[in-house]
Amino acid sequence: MSQVVAYFPLILKGMLLTVEVALLSLLIAVLLGLIGAVARLSKSRIARGIAGTYTTIIRGIPDLVLMTLIFFGGQILVNDIGEKMGLDYIDVDPFIAGVLTIGFIFGAYFAESFRGGILAVARGEIEAGHAFGMTPLQVFSRITLPAMVRHALPGIGNNWLVMVKTTALVSVIGLQDMVYNAGLAGGSTRKPFTFYCVVAFLFLVITGFSDVGMRWLDKRYSVGVRKA
């Protein structure tokens, strides 16, 4: 027990990194998801094709493979580009690689949730926007987007929970998140089970807080909707 107390700050530091990675990836994933959803619903065949390929590939390949591919492959790519431009050796930051990969992966999942949400927005509301003379961008940002969130929210919540758990993989590319730190603590105290238990509990804490947040969001975006 005293060992857990001694190493708890280290684990908490890792937890902070886990949350940071999750939130930054969420930002990227939401942006990519919106672009992907709009592309999948667009009239352009090329845009639909690209977005469709993106979601299929991401959903067909394990996160771990994509993450190592982007981390190790990205390093080579950066080196090649750097060499051509006559720069020194550049290290790919595992933090950036991790955030980009997770954001890139979950962009595909968010695109699916957003697509469903956009399809559920009442056609008349969008037409009304056009009738008022709004530009397509204005219609999207003022009408489609806010109205779509309510329908997409359950999907968003699920994706977020899966995403939080996926952040555990960044420990594989050397990022010192809480799984990585638990490995360190477990190694030096010879009590790995105890420390992985602590980490598992902390993951449950994060998901617990997320539940509260989701309920708040649901309330906020369902204002004006009567429920039985």
């Binding site: 394990p62 493979v65 994509l66 993989l169 105890t194 238990c197 449950l204």
Partner: protein, 230 residues
């Protein structure tokens, strides 16, 4: 792109493919066997009976598979009792640790899927069975479970794909599955693009086959839900 490296290492990839498939199928089978009693108990109206299975489901769905696998692979050696018993023979093997972790994990997810579908069984079906004079066990065996498995099919398809992707974690604990093979090829030749893309394509192909298989299965088992062909 240097495809020659991949062709040279094809036997390694095929060995990895075999390991991945064996690992996924065996964990799914064990997981399903565990999931059925878990789901039945979790769906029960008795609060005492449902508390433990619900906690099990909550834990395994709420924490990363990586942490669960490390708990078993790195963690079991912490206990003197485990090391002294026959269990140590099992937990010393990375392969067995991965199998246990994956099976327990998929039991949690599958248990939740089945619990949901059991609870949503149309009550009329159960009532009809009761009025035919079936016992409780008969109702479960003849009515609730078959109907549950049918309705759980689409969600279970997703879980199978999830398990396939999750199984790549086995490559992290010295097992040579598809990901493990890619890791070895990358380490020997330093070709991250080629090695991991090759593994990714294998995973993609298996995923497509699973999707196709479940489409076929749904076509068969959901025949009564299909609109009539004219």
């Amino acid at each position: 792109m240097d495809i020659q490296v991949i062709i040279d290492n094809l036997p390694l990839y095929l060995q990895g493919l075999r390991t991945t498939i064996v690992l996924v199928i065996s964990s799914l089978l064990v997981g399903l066997c565990l999931a059925i009693p878990i789901a039945l108990l979790a769906a029960s109206k008795n609060k005492w009976a449902s508390a433990l299975p619900k906690a099990y489901i909550y834990f395994f769905r709420g924490t990363p598979l990586l942490v669960q696998m490390f708990m078993i692979y790195h963690g079991m050696g912490q206990f003197e009792a485990v090391r002294a018993s026959f269990l140590w023979v099992i937990f010393q093997e990375a392969w067995a640790c991965a199998l246990v972790a994956f099976a327990l994990n998929t039991a949690g997810y599958t248990g939740e899927i089945l619990r949901g579908t059991i609870e949503q069984t149309p009550y009329g079906e159960v009532e009809a069975a009761k009025s035919c004079g079936m016992s409780n066990a008969q109702i479960y065996r003849r009515i609730i479970l078959p109907s549950t498995f049918r309705r759980a099919l689409p969600a279970y398809g997703n879980e199978v794909i999830f398990m396939l992707h999750g199984s790549s974690l086995a490559g992290l604990i010295t097992i040579v599955d598809l990901f493990g093979a890619a890791k070895i090829v990358n380490a020997r030749n330093f070709v991250p693009f080629e090695s991991f893309i090759a593994a990714g394509l294998f995973y993609l192909a298996i995923t497509f086959m699973i999707v196709w298989g479940f489409k076929k299965a749904e076509h068969h088992w959901h025949a009564y839900l299909r609109p009539r062909e004219s």
